[in-house]
């Protein structure tokens, strides 16, 4: 196997003036070199740092990297566009501005007793999965095998087939295990094309793995935002208008995630006006990142709502209850199921703790409690398919070409099949991760793996169960539909039982093959996920240090398949949100547009010492309208409300209004000074 290294633009905006590959081609171990013109993934113009210019494959990674260093590139530097507001003014946008309006926004403002406005900002964030983007490409005859770390093997198959003009099934994509993606690995990406082309030219398998530095420049990011938002309400808290202008720094490409989504969907409000701009800048492009748009938008919306509650003198939880949406806010469709009120009810005792928490404040450490609500998709959808094979030993094998991105999907699928077949979990094996060894399956993105795949697996297991029972009913001369599978046995209503193997044993080398497909989502209904988080914080008002002492999370995602796995998703979401809230930020050189935080030394992920006590609860009520399973996804919901809940707790503790992420000690101190100033000015003169 050969190893590849890529020469990339060190500039945010530049053009190749001259390129000399002669020394690189002659370097020890080099077997293939690609330059612009050889492959679409290489270009002589760089519109962002990290743009690939040359790729080298050599016998070892060290040789490849050494050869890459021998590539001589003469760059002509060009002026980079880095300011998102300037990009909007100049019309440098990815796609058109997205405008949305319902009701009469101006009328809603006019009817209000209170109007609050604020500008919120969020930072650029890197995904930092443990495993960087990487693949091994190997040509076999006229077909190509791609071993890859991906969230979507079928998407990779189609992307690579299109790049090389191959029939899709000539590309086989394999992903047995992988080290996380968080949305950054939803497709193939140029690096796979490079590896495949290097493999084609060298006639050898080629491994191309991004280094951590390459990953933190070009591996995708959650785009920064500037959100100017307004909320208006009657004195009783009824929202009369919500509005916002959202500027999203997408970089050179990507897509405009719905930052206005929470404002449009979360609370009942007749009059809403939003406009979103995707600023096209000379920076690496964004990629989907765990609830893209909704994480950023919920931060602004839910902080704004608490500002409004303070203005109106209303309890923040009560304000949310008074604006509860009973039908979809955008088109009036009924929800397939919605347990947000139940989430509010269960959150209540945790919200009530605020009196006791505040009472533990002292001169230095001020304590408070804040909450934020959450809405997201996560219903999944068709198509997805699964097969369930039952052998003569009564063991089952679930076969489907999905991927387990580290969320425990294999286990969840085994649980579903085991329950349907009435056999123990350890008698079910799950085979995933190979596009030529199983039917089409969903992307593992958008919290959709479980709600898309689970129903297909359940249907396949039910199909296998039905076939087994038909044979049993014939053999034991029972009426059709009277027998069932339970505890590894075939059970008759009269109490007679037979070991499952008594029927499956008849198969000898034969097998029962059950097939299942994911059915449609309920027509005319909106399928969404909901939740509430309550944060308890302590703020050191002298140094600005914030300690998050406890986070309570309650989420409604329909039926819970694996309680431990579900809790892990909630904990993982909250821990990632701790980083988003306090320590993580990609820093760019403000003049050159190059990324300064390329390593994990500079880009600060949260450590275990930053993790608060996390208390998780799930409503766990199957969505009766949704598929044969009633389950929704939980990958994204838990990261959505955390930052706003924390900021609202800081407000509760100190009166300080924090408006930008990450929250730094200096911002806390500045916000505290502003809060004191407001109090001084606003205080009635004695």
């Amino acid at each position: 196997m050969l190893h590849a290294a890529v020469v990339r633009s060190p500039h945010a905006h530049a053009r190749v003036r001259a390129l000399d590959l002669s020394r690189a081609r002659e370097a020890p171990g080099v077997r293939a070199v690609l330059a612009p013109g050889d492959c679409d993934a290489l270009d002589e113009t760089a519109e962002f740092e990290g743009r690939a210019v040359v790729a080298v494959a050599a016998e070892t990674f060290g040789q490849a990297r050494a050869a890459a260093e021998l590539v001589e590139v003469e760059w002509e530097e060009l002026e980079p566009l880095l300011d998102p507001e300037e990009a909007v003014r100049r019309g440098s946008l990815v796609g058109e501005p997205r405008r949305y309006e319902r009701g009469g926004y101006e009328r809603g403002l006019a009817e209000a007793d209170a109007v609050v406005e604020a500008e919120y900002r969020t930072q650029t964030l890197n995904h930092n999965p443990l495993e960087t983007h990487q693949c091994v490409c190997e040509w076999r005859g006229d077909g190509l095998d791609v071993y890859i770390s991906t969230q979507y093997i079928w998407g990779v198959r189609d992307d690579v087939a299109a790049a090389f003009g191959l029939p899709p099934d000539k590309v086989r994509v394999i992903c047995e295990y992988m080290g996380g993606g968080f949305g950054a690995k939803n497709g193939a990406g140029g690096y796979v094309t490079l590896a495949a082309e290097l493999a084609r030219r060298s006639g050898r398998p080629v491994r191309l793995a991004l280094t951590r530095r390459e990953e933190n420049v070009g591996g995708g990011n959650r785009n920064a935002t500037i959100q100017r938002v307004t909320a208006a309400a009657k004195a009783d808290g009824t929202l009369t208008a919500l509005g916002g202008e959202f500027i999203c720094s997408l970089g050179w490409g990507g897509w405009l995630a719905s930052t206005a989504g929470p404002m449009q969907l979360l609370h009942a409000c007749e009059n809403v006006r939003t406009v979103e701009y995707g600023a096209k800048l000379n920076l690496p492009a964004m990629a989907a990142f765990r609830a893209p748009g909704f994480v950023e938008g919920t931060w602004a919306l839910e902080c704004l709502l608490d500002k409004l509650a303070a203005e109106l003198g209303l309890d923040p939880l009560e304000l949310r209850r008074r604006n509860y949406a009973n039908v979809d806010t955008m088109d009036g469709r009924p929800y397939s199921a919605k347990e947000l009120l139940e989430c509010y009810r269960r959150a209540e005792p945790h919200w009530e703790r605020r009196h006791e928490v505040r009472a533990r404040s002292d001169a230095t450490w001020k304590r408070g409690v804040g909450l934020a609500s959450q809405i997201w998709y996560g219903g999944g959808g068709p198509p997805s398919y699964a097969w369930v094979r039952v052998g003569s030993d009564g063991r089952a094998n679930v076969v489907t070409a999905m991927q387990d991105i580290g969320t425990g999907t294999r286990t969840a699928m085994a649980q579903i099949a085991a329950e349907e077949l009435g056999i123990r979990l350890e008698r079910v094996q799950v085979q995933v991760g190979d596009s030529s060894r199983g039917p089409f399956a969903s992307i593992s993105g958008g919290s959709s793996t479980l709600p898309s795949m689970g129903p297909a697996v359940r249907a396949a297991a039910a199909d296998a169960a039905r076939q087994i029972l038909e044979i049993a009913e014939q053999r034991f001369e029972r009426e059709d539909g009277t027998l069932s599978l339970r505890g590894g046995e075939i059970v008759s209503p009269d109490g007679t039982t037979w070991p499952l193997e008594e029927i499956t044993g008849l198969l000898e080398d034969g097998q029962i093959l059950g097939k299942g497909a994911r059915g449609p989502n309920p027509a005319g209904m909106r399928v969404l996920t909901f939740g509430v988080q309550v944060a308890e914080v302590a703020v050191d008002v002298e140094t600005g240090e914030v300690v998050v002492e406890r986070i309570y999370a309650v989420h409604d995602v329909g039926r819970v398949i694996n309680p431990l796995g579900a809790r892990s998703q909630i904990e993982g979401g909250i821990i990632q949100a701790m980083g988003h809230t306090f320590s993580e930020a990609r820093l760019d050189d403000p003049h050159r547009g190059t990324v300064l935080t390329k390593t994990l030394d500079a880009y600060k992920l949260p450590t275990i010492a930053d993790v608060p006590e996390i208390v998780c609860e799930l409503i766990d009520k199957p969505d009766a309208q949704l598929t044969n399973l009633g389950s929704k996804g939980l990958g994204e919901p838990p990261i959505i409300p955390t930052a706003a809940a924390i900021a609202n707790a800081i407000r509760d503790a100190t009166g300080a209004d924090v408006t930008s992420l990450p929250i730094t000690r200096e911002e806390i101190l500045a916000a505290l000074r502003e809060a004191r100033e407001r109090e001084r000015v606003g205080a009635p003169s004695a």
């Binding site: 140094t543 600005g544 240090e545 600060k604 450590t607 930053d610 200096e666 101190l669």
Partner: protein
């Protein structure tokens, strides 16, 4: 890259004198980062891990001698932690357990970073740095040893072999502000010893760690004096204004803790 591994101090000093360009390595917690980041490409490293004379600590005539190879984990252990509580507290804030098992006091001195966590506690303890070469041994006060950001008084044939200091006869403490709760370079750090004389030393708020002294009676004005002595800069971890403010707050808190 050549790796020189002496088995005794004499051999180490001879090798250093013959290969002045060889970079000393003990735990490697600074050096390996620099190499990984391609900031330096040494032709040779001098591996000090097999030199027994650099290990451990001892006490003679009231003076403590810490070998350059003393790790942070060792500095956290009793009875040494009781003799130098501020150094023990500082050591607890260094990196992760793995880093604390590998990183050494001598390495922190050799690197001479203004953010070196061990330096403020050593400064308030009146530490002398023991330097040795084939030419002999000399002692330099820590305040004179560090001469600039990552620059020190080591001659090219010299090694740091130990620090000598007074055990804490009075209350002392260490505090640190960082951008997250573990594995960080300090935004600002402070060590305070409150004996007959008040001594405070801080890191990350000037080109070198700085020692400030005052009579015990001047405790009220001391936080301001410490803040004024700082020469901080704005960087990605924090602004100069915040660092000065934090120093003032930390000094007052350290005084409250030590004078209580």
């Amino acid at each position: 890259m050549e790796v020189l591994t002496p088995r005794s101090l004499d051999e180490a000093l001879r090798l250093k004198s013959e290969n002045p360009q060889a970079v000393p390595i003990a735990g490697g917690t600074d050096l390996m980062v620099a190499i990984n980041f391609d900031r330096i490409r040494p032709n040779a490293v001098l591996n000090l891990n097999e030199v027994p004379e650099l290990r451990g600590w001892s006490r003679a005539n009231g003076t403590l001698r810490l070998g350059a190879g003393l790790t942070y984990a060792e500095a956290m252990r009793e009875p040494l932690a009781g003799l130098l509580p501020a150094l023990a507290e500082a050591s607890r804030t260094v990196g992760s357990p793995q880093i604390r098992n590998r990183g050494t006091i001598g390495g922190n001195l050799g690197t001479s970073s203004p953010a070196g966590d061990a330096l403020p506690p050593l400064l308030v303890a009146g530490a002398d740095v023991v330097l040795a070469s084939v030419r002999g041994e000399r002692r330099v006060a820590l305040g004179e040893f560090v001469v600039g950001p990552k620059r020190n008084a080591l001659a090219e044939d010299e090694l740091v072999t130990a620090v000598e200091l007074e055990p804490a006869s009075a209350a002392e403490t260490f505090m640190k502000v960082g951008p997250r709760n573990a594995m960080v370079i300090a935004v600002v750090s402070l060590a305070l010893r409150a004996g007959e004389e008040l001594r405070a030393a801080f890191g990350s708020a000037g080109p070198v760690p700085i020692l400030v002294r005052a009579p015990r009676d001047d405790a009220d004005a001391f936080p301001e004096r410490v803040a004024e002595a700082a020469a901080p800069i704005d960087d990605v971890r924090g602004t100069a204004a915040y660092r000065r403010h934090a120093l003032r707050v930390l000094t007052r808190r350290a005084l409250d803790r030590c004078l209580a």
